[in-house]
C-alpha cells in the first residue's frame, strides 16, 4: 500500500495536523453521529409540526394511545372484572339494558349489559396492536421487495410485479371476506394477512418505482466504483432512501388495517372477542342502529373512534409526506 506521506501535498492545500483535531477516537465518531441524527430528527419534526393537521393528528394518536394504556390500569384499580369486563361483564346496577350514560357507566351499557367505555378502551389496545403489526409487516415486505426487484430487474422483477398486480386486482375487503369464509381469522392472522396484502400490492409497486429512480442515480454507480457488492448497494444505499416513503405507507397501512378489521367485524365474519367493529355489529344486530339518536352511545363512540384514529394516521401520513417530499413544501429553500 502506498502512503500519503511519501507524496508532497498539493499546493494550495494547507497542511493540517493529522485528523484535523478529530483524533478523539470512536466515541467522538459516535457522538458526531448522534448529534447528526438528533439534528435531522429536529428539523424534520419542525417541518412536520408546521403543518397544523400534522400536529392535530399526532395529538389524536397520542390520546388514543393513552386510552389504550388506561384500560388495564382501570381494570386493575377502580373497575371490578365482574361488572366491567368488556366481554363477560354485566352491569347489574342498571335497570334495563342498554342503559344510558351514568356516573358508573360514562358511556352507558350495551344490549348485553356490558360497559361501553370499557369495551371502547380495551378495543383501542387491540386496534393499535393490529395496525402496528400490519404496518410493520407491510413495510418490511414492501421495502425489501421494492428494493430487490428494482435492483435485479428481469425475472425477479416480473415475478413480484405480477404478484402485485394480482393482489391489487383482488380488492382486499372482498378477498378478506372470502378468506374469513374459508379460514378462522384471529386478530394476529388478520394483521398478518393485511400486512402481506399491503406489502405485496400497491405499496410494493410504489416503493419499487422509487427504488428504480434511486437505482439509476450516479451515487449507486459510485458505490459500485468503491467496490461495493449487491448487499452494500441494496441495504446501505437504496433501502435508507426508501425509508421515508415506507414510513408514509406505514401510516396508510395502519388506517386500512383498522378499517378492514372494523368492516369484517361489522359483517360478523371475524373470530375475535371485542373491537370497535364488533361493538357496532352488536348494536346493529339488535336493530338499534336505525333508531336514530336515541341509542347514540351504542354506535357513536365506536364509530367516531374508528373514523378519528383512521383519519389521524392518514393525516399524519400526509403531513409526513410534506416533510418527505420537498416538492410539496410551501416555501422554497
Amino acid at each position: 500500500m502506498r502512503s500519503w506521506s511519501t507524496r508532497s501535498p498539493a499546493p494550495g492545500a494547507s497542511p493540517e495536523p493529522r485528523g484535523g483535531g478529530l483524533g478523539g477516537g470512536r466515541l467522538r465518531l459516535l457522538q458526531a453521529r448522534a448529534r447528526l441524527a438528533l439534528r435531522s430528527f429536529r428539523s424534520g419534526m419542525a417541518v412536520f409540526l408546521e403543518s397544523r393537521l400534522g400536529l392535530l393528528s399526532l395529538l389524536t394518536i397520542g390520546v388514543f394511545a393513552l386510552m389504550a394504556v388506561a384500560h388495564p390500569i382501570l381494570m386493575g384499580t377502580v373497575w371490578d372484572a365482574d361488572t366491567y369486563d368488556p366481554v363477560t361483564g354485566y352491569a347489574f346496577d342498571a335497570t334495563e339494558q342498554p342503559a344510558p350514560p351514568s356516573w358508573k357507566h360514562p358511556l352507558g351499557t350495551d344490549p348485553l349489559g356490558r360497559d361501553v367505555l370499557s369495551q371502547l378502551l380495551s378495543s383501542t389496545r387491540s386496534e393499535f396492536a393490529l395496525g402496528i403489526t400490519a404496518a410493520l409487516v407491510t413495510v418490511t415486505i414492501a421495502t425489501t421487495v421494492g428494493a430487490v426487484s428494482a435492483y435485479y430487474g428481469g425475472l425477479v422483477d416480473s415475478f413480484f410485479m405480477r404478484f402485485a398486480d394480482l393482489v391489487i386486482a383482488l380488492p382486499s375487503i372482498s378477498l378478506l371476506i372470502v378468506l374469513s369464509a374459508l379460514f378462522d381469522l384471529s386478530l394476529f392472522y388478520l394483521a398478518l394477512v393485511i400486512g402481506v396484502l399491503g406489502g405485496f400490492g400497491g405499496t410494493a409497486i410504489v416503493l419499487k418505482s422509487q427504488a428504480l429512480s434511486i437505482k439509476v442515480k450516479p451515487f449507486i454507480e459510485a458505490a459500485r466504483m468503491a467496490g461495493g457488492g449487491q448487499f452494500q448497494i441494496i441495504f446501505v444505499h437504496i433501502v435508507p432512501n426508501l425509508l421515508p416513503l415506507s414510513l408514509l405507507y406505514m401510516m396508510f397501512t395502519v388506517t386500512s388495517a383498522i378499517f378492514a378489521e372494523a368492516v369484517l367485524s361489522f359483517l360478523g365474519l371475524l373470530d375475535i372477542r371485542m373491537s370497535w367493529g364488533i361493538m357496532i355489529h352488536t348494536a346493529n344486530a339488535g336493530g338499534y342502529l336505525l333508531s336514530g339518536t336515541k341509542y347514540w352511545w351504542l354506535v357513536f363512540p365506536a364509530g367516531a373512534s374508528i373514523t378519528l384514529l383512521c383519519s389521524a394516521f392518514y393525516l399524519a401520513g400526509r403531513a409526513l409526506d410534506e416533510v418527505v417530499n420537498p416538492r410539496l413544501s410551501r416555501r422554497d429553500g
Partner: protein
C-alpha cells in the same frame, strides 16, 4: 401505443391466470376438502352430486383438478350454486353483474370528477379556507367507517326525511305489471351509458383536431344533442318509469360511495398539481399572458391528470371494495352482496365465482385506465 396495450393485455391475462390459480389454491388449502363439502350438503340430490363430482374431477389427482378448474373457468362453468339451487353460478352472477357495474361505475365517475375539480381548486389557491374544509371533511369521509356512514345516510334521508327509498334496487309496486326483467333494464341503462361515452369520446376527439384551442361550443352542443336523443329514446321506449325507479334507488348508495371516495382523488390531484405548477411549462404559459384559468386548466391540471389517471386503478379498487360494503348495507343485490351471502351460507361455488368476477372486473377497469392514460399522454401514445 398498440405494442404498449398489447403488453398490458398480455400482463393482465397472466394476472387473470394467477387469480384462478390463487382461488384454486385457497380452496385446496382450506380445512376440510371440497369433495366432502359437496358430499355433506343435504340440499343436493345424489345425481347432482355425482354430476358435480364429474364436472370438477373431485376424485382425480390435484393437478388434474387444477387443469379442470382452469378449463371450467375459461368456459364459464363455475358449477351450481348451493344457495340458489339449481341455478348455475354463472347465471346468478350474470344477472347481478350489470347492477354492480351501474352502481360502481356511476359512483366512480362522480367521485373522480368531483375529486379532480376540488383538488384542482385547492392546489391553485393554497392555504385558503376551502383547502382546510375540503381536506378535513374529505379525509374524515374517506376514513369514515363505511357501514356506519351508510346507515347514517339511510337513517337521515330515508327515515327522517323520507326523501329516498330505504334500500333494495327497485320498488315491487312499480314493477308488478312490467313485462321486462330488471336485468334487461339494467343492461339497457348500461348500453346507453357506454354508447354515450363512446359518442362523447368521438366528439371530443374530432373537436380536438381543430386549430382553435378555445372554441368549445360545438362540442358542448353535440354532447347536449346526444344526451337529448338518449333521454328521448328512454321516454318513448315505455320502460322509462322502470328505469326511473331504479335511478331513485341508486341515488343514496351512489351518493354514499361518492362521498366516501372523492377525497382520494382530490388529495392526489392536489399533490400532483402542486408538482406541475412548478414546471417550467406552467411558468411559460403564465409568461405567455394566458388567462389564469387557462393556465390552470389547460396546462397545470391537464398534466396533473396523468398521475391521477394512473392511480385511478387504486381508486377503482377502493370503490369496488366500498361497493361490496355499500351493497350489503343497502341490500343492493349486486356481486358484492352475492359474495357476502354466499360466504354466510357457505355457498362455495358462488364464492369462487364471485371473487373471480370481482377480479375480472378490476382487471377490466385496469385496461380502461391504461387506454385512457395512453390517450392522455402523447409520450406513451407514440412510443
Amino acid at each position: 401505443m398498440a405494442s404498449y396495450l398489447a403488453r398490458r393485455i398480455a400482463q393482465m391475462a397472466l394476472t387473470l391466470f394467477l387469480i384462478l390459480t390463487v382461488t384454486f389454491v385457497l380452496v385446496q388449502a382450506q380445512p376440510g376438502d371440497y369433495a366432502s363439502f359437496y358430499a355433506l350438503n343435504p340440499d343436493l340430490p345424489p345425481d347432482v352430486k355425482e354430476q358435480m363430482r364429474a364436472t370438477f374431477g373431485l376424485d382425480r389427482p390435484v393437478w388434474q383438478q387444477y387443469l379442470i378448474h382452469m378449463r371450467n373457468t375459461v368456459t364459464g362453468n363455475f358449477g351450481v350454486s348451493f344457495g340458489h339451487f339449481p341455478r348455475p353460478v354463472l347465471e346468478v352472477l350474470a344477472e347481478r353483474l350489470p347492477r354492480t357495474i351501474v352502481l360502481f361505475g356511476t359512483a366512480t365517475a362522480a367521485s373522480v370528477y368531483i375529486g379532480f375539480l376540488l383538488g384542482k381548486a385547492i392546489a391553485w389557491r393554497r392555504g385558503g379556507l376551502l383547502e382546510y374544509t375540503a381536506t378535513i371533511s374529505g379525509t374524515v369521509l374517506f376514513t369514515a367507517f363505511t357501514p356506519a356512514f351508510a346507515l347514517t345516510m339511510i337513517w337521515l334521508f330515508a327515515f327522517r326525511l323520507g326523501w329516498l327509498p330505504v334500500g333494495k334496487f327497485l320498488d315491487p309496486l312499480v314493477w308488478r305489471d312490467a313485462d321486462v326483467t330488471s336485468t334487461s333494464v339494467f343492461s339497457f341503462m348500461l348500453l346507453t351509458a357506454v354508447a354515450f361515452v363512446g359518442f362523447a369520446a368521438l366528439v371530443l376527439f374530432i373537436s380536438g383536431r381543430g386549430d382553435r384551442i378555445g372554441r368549445r361550443w360545438p362540442a358542448t352542443l353535440a354532447l347536449a344533442a346526444g344526451a337529448l336523443v338518449a333521454a328521448l329514446a328512454w321516454t318513448l321506449s315505455g320502460i322509462g318509469p322502470l328505469a326511473l325507479d331504479i335511478l331513485k334507488h341508486m341515488v343514496l348508495p351512489v351518493a354514499t360511495l361518492t362521498l366516501i371516495s372523492f377525497a382520494g382523488t382530490m388529495l392526489l390531484t392536489r399533490n400532483s398539481m402542486l408538482e406541475t405548477v412548478r414546471e417550467d411549462y406552467v411558468t411559460a404559459a403564465r409568461a405567455k399572458g394566458l388567462p389564469d384559468g387557462q393556465v390552470r386548466d389547460r396546462h397545470a391540471a391537464r398534466n396533473a391528470l396523468l398521475p391521477v389517471v394512473t392511480s385511478l386503478i387504486y381508486s377503482l379498487i377502493f370503490a369496488l371494495d366500498g361497493s361490496v360494503i355499500v351493497e350489503s348495507v343497502f341490500s343492493w343485490p349486486g356481486i358484492g352482496l352475492t359474495l357476502l351471502e354466499a360466504v354466510r351460507s357457505e355457498d362455495l361455488p358462488l364464492v369462487m365465482g364471485a371473487i373471480v368476477f370481482i377480479g375480472f372486473l378490476s382487471l377490466l377497469s385496469h385496461l380502461i385506465v391504461d387506454v385512457l392514460y395512453a390517450y392522455l399522454d402523447p409520450r406513451i401514445r407514440y412510443q
